[in-house]
Amino acid sequence: MTGTVTERIQTEITENPVMLYMKGTAMFPQCGFSARVVQILTHMGVPFKTANVLEDPALREGIKQFSNWPTVPQLYVKGEFVGGCDIVTEMFQSGELATMLTEKGVPHEAAA
């Protein structure tokens, strides 16, 4: 992994409170797992930024090494790795995701 990819990721997860590495874009996800995480964040009214790993082979490989996590999507909140689609889904369903966002001071809509 080149230094530039590591630096790019470090900068993105530091500057963006909620940063999602995914396949495709929030508007046009190109993978069902990525789409599900976008759907959850959107549903919760969480402001987030995305990076499309399909546009950049170095990022696609680099994010796996950076996170020590072999698959995409990958969600970071306040610079901390939260997990992929399964973990985000489980945390959403159990209410832990809302709790964590509140604890970290990330705005989101209260659960219905």
Binding site: C31, G32, T71, V82, G83, D86
Partner: protein
């Protein structure tokens, strides 16, 4: 030749002595999608219930499984949906089983 599902199941069974273990090959549902291969064997989902996860956070549980299946990821495993629970958690949440 054993299937990837068989290998995944054998590795998980050996390492986690699971109370419940289900490995499903979902590759057919992803045919034609990026990461899919003509022969399939790319997309799997696993339900694994084990005492080994007690006291372990979600990311740590998944990393333990990923590490065990490192060779499969290197050999074309593309997506692995993981539901990893302790027996107590599983007893409380049976309906969302993978």
């Amino acid at each position: 030749m054993t299937s990837r599902a068989d290998r995944i199941e054998a590795l998980l069974r050996q390492h986690f002595t699971p109370a419940v273990l289900r490995v499903a090959d979902d590759s057919h549902r992803h045919a034609g999608h990026a990461g899919a291969r003509p022969g399939g064997q790319t997309h799997y989902s696993v339900l694994l219930v084990s005492d080994a996860f007690r006291g372990q956070a979600r990311v740590a549980r998944s990393r333990a499984v990923h590490a065990l299946l490192d060779g499969e990821f290197a050999g074309g495993l593309h997506a692995l949906a993981l539901t990893l629970r302790t027996p107590e958690e599983h007893a409380a949440l049976p309906e969302s089983a993978a």
